[in-house]
Structures are given as C-alpha cells and as structure tokens.
Symmetry: C2
Subunit: 209 residues, 2 copies
DNA sequence: GTCAACTCATACACGCTCGTATGACTTGTA
DNA sequence: TACAAGTCATACGAGCGTGTATGAGTTGAC
C-alpha cells in the first residue's frame, strides 16, 4: 500500500481524505473543471453530444478528456455529481424554519433555478446512468424537500389526503415543465417561479378540502 | 400523371382521397399495422431500439420494414400519427358539455390513458422529429383541451390569473409525471387519474383566490 | 392459374462514436 | 533548472445503426 509516497504533500488534505482528487497539478484541475462545465453546455446545445463535441466545447483535446474520465458514463456521472454538489451549496442556505408553505415556496424557487440549469444533463444521465445512481445523487435534496412536506402535513399546512411521494413528483414535474417551456422560448425565466408557485400552492394547500 | 392507372379499384375510396395508402395488398396492410404496433412496444421496452429491433418485435424482416418506411424518422412519424389518430377516436367521444370542471376531469382521465400508452414513443419522436411536426400532430387534441379551459375561464370555473398556455402545460406535465411513476412501478395505474385530478382541480379552481 | 405485389435473407458501403495507443511537446512544481 | 505531470495530434480497431442492393421465394388478387 501507499506506493505513491514520493510526494507526501501535506499541503491540502481538505475535504475527503481521498488522495485521488486533491493533489493534481493546478493545470489539470482547471482542465477538469473546464470539461465538467463544457459537458453541461454541450449537452444543453445538443443532447446527443459526443465526447468529441464536449472536448471541443471545453477547448481541449479529446485525449485530455479521456485522461480525466475513462468512459462516457463516468464523465456524465462526474458532471452531474458536480452540478448537484454546487446546487447543495445553494439549497443548504435556504431557511426552512417558520411557516411551511412559505419555506416550501422558497425552496421551490431555489430548486427551480438549479433544475433549469441542469435539465439537459439530467436527461442525458437518465439515459446513460442506472436509475439507482441518479436517485442516490439526489438523496440529500430529495430528503430535504420530503421532510419539509411532511412537516407541513403534520402542521396542517399541506393536505394529507395524498402521499408525500405524489406531492414530491408533482413538484419535480411542474418545475421541469417550466424549465422546458423556458427552453422552448415560450416562457420568460423571470416568470417561472411565480407560475410554479401559482400551481403548487393551491394544489398542496390543506384549506378547502 | 396518373401513371399507375392499371387498377382503378373503385372498391375502397373511403377516408382521404389519397391513393397511396389504400390500395395495398391485404398482406402488406397487415404487416404495416404489425410494424406500427411493434414500434410502440419495442420503443417502450428500449427507448433506443434500432430498426432491426423493431422489425424483430414485429416478427418481420428488416427489409420488409424498409419496404413500408423509407427512413427511421418516417417510421416514428407514422407510428405517432397512428397512435394519435386512434387516440382521437377516443377523445372525440368524451362529452364536453355541462360543467367545465367535470368535463375537464373526464377529458384528463381519457387523455391520461393515451399518454400512458404512447409516452415512450413521444419521447423518441421528440428526439427524432422536428418539434413543429409534433405540435402539428397534437393540434386537434390540444385545441380541444385549450378551448375547454378557455370556456372554463370565461364561465368563472377556472382561475383567470394564469395564461391558458400554462394551464395546458401543467396538465401535460402532471399527466406525464403520473405515467412515469407508473412506468417506474411506484404508482398503480388505477390510482393515477385520481391523483392527477387531486392536483389539477384545486390548482385550476377559481375559488379562493 | 397467372402475374404482380410483397416478403425476406444476405450482403455491402458508409458514417459515427467509443475506447486505446503512441509519442512528441508543454507546463507546473519543487 | 530538472523532472514529473499533463496536454494534444494522430491514428487505429471494433462495434453499431442506417440505408441500399440483389435475387429468390411466397402470397394475395383478379
């Protein structure tokens, strides 16, 4: 074990203890990031973008890409993981205290922006990654949303005659619908949160049922 | 013109006046139908099904398929057109008179079953056919739904603070979500209409706003 | 029964993408 | 500065899907 001990490099042991990701040349880290970003935009432009397309989008050689990601699924996985991690940073800041309905609205608005950004990537992932893997990546975000909905139900803010699962999918589905409308140019991104809210709030409300 | 006048064949001039589709051997018509059906089921099983897969599913040779449909898009187009035409036969029977909300519920229930059946095919079409073509095919069904929603708004049954377009997409999106849940085995098809309704009715309701 | 229509197996050309390999070159780092 | 790490152009093999071609065989229609 520990055969690569030539460079102890105590400089940066931040984050996970893994050595795989951290101690790489600054150069390489930049390229990795460029490729990850390019994956999102390239697939956004063309859902069937090849690895060559993505490398071109990143302004890097195809071989460089292969140097960072051995296979296509591995790249997609990494790109999605990255997107979700960035999303987590945003979502974890959303205050969930207080009125459940208002908290839900805040969470949905933030979530929607993320969905809008990585929609195409998600679609690609759904075709190339096992479904269990994708669910696994969304675990945190989904758990947050679910427990908020559950709290709302318990407090009588949200209706309890429907399973939380269905409220959850409805939420996803309406956000995705808005994102699709934006993509098609039929909806102004600015207006989306309001429209999403206009549907979900009365749909989930406990009043008058 | 009229170079193929060898067989006047006054037997069946039913439907459109076109001669292209009608006067084919019974044999060929059967095969065409088999292929169309196979397209739906094959793509349902595997969204990336090749023409070879589809031919196999139909129990026919690949060349026979090419005899009926010159290219892949042409096949997808034909299959979707066929699905939609069959759907029209169902939807046109749904009574739209009387209370707009109830009519909407009836229409949604019927529509959902169709969506559930041809969801995979639609996804394939979205990847291989121009968006305008797909919208064109859905024109009738969409117009029916739209005018019902508009009537509901005018009568004060549906809220008027949202554009009909958004009500329309919401409807689509929730139906699709249910279909997806069914596909994933997380939802019983029997329960779907009830759940869809439970979301859409309060979401679209004009009361309490 | 005759003929055209249709089916189907086989085969080929083409283009595309993935993944691998090689080697020369450039850049970061200590 | 010296060496490892990383980049990149080029090239190759394999696999797959599409669309075309050919020809022999089968089936429906009149």
């Amino acid at each position: 074990m520990n055969s690569r001990a030539t460079t102890p490099n105590p400089r940066l042991s931040s984050g996970s203890g893994r050595r795989g990701a951290a101690n790489k040349r600054a150069d390489a880290q930049r390229n990795r990031a460029k490729i990850l970003a390019a994956t999102v935009t390239a697939i956004r432009k063309n859902p069937d973008a090849s690895l060559a397309d993505i490398a071109a989008e990143a302004g890097t050689g195809r071989q460089t890409l292969y140097g960072h990601f051995r296979t296509r699924p591995e790249l997609i996985d990494a790109a999605l993981t990255d997107s979700i991690e960035r999303g987590e940073e945003v979502l974890s800041q959303v205050p969930l205290h207080g009125d459940a309905v208002e908290a839900f609205q805040r969470l949905v608005t933030s979530s929607w922006m993320l969905v809008d950004r990585s929609r195409a990537l998600m679609a690609a992932a759904q075709r190339e990654l096992p479904a269990t893997r994708i669910r696994e990546m969304h675990e945190k975000a989904e758990a947050r949303m679910r427990s908020l909905l559950e709290r709302g139900q318990a407090e009588g803010a949200f209706r309890s005659d429907l399973p939380v699962t269905w409220l959850l999918t409805t939420t996803h589905v309406v956000m995705n619908g808005a994102a699709e409308e934006v993509r098609a140019g039929r909806l102004d991104p600015e207006d989306a949160p309001k429209l999403i809210d206009a549907i979900l709030t009365p749909a989930f409300s406990a009043t008058q049922r």
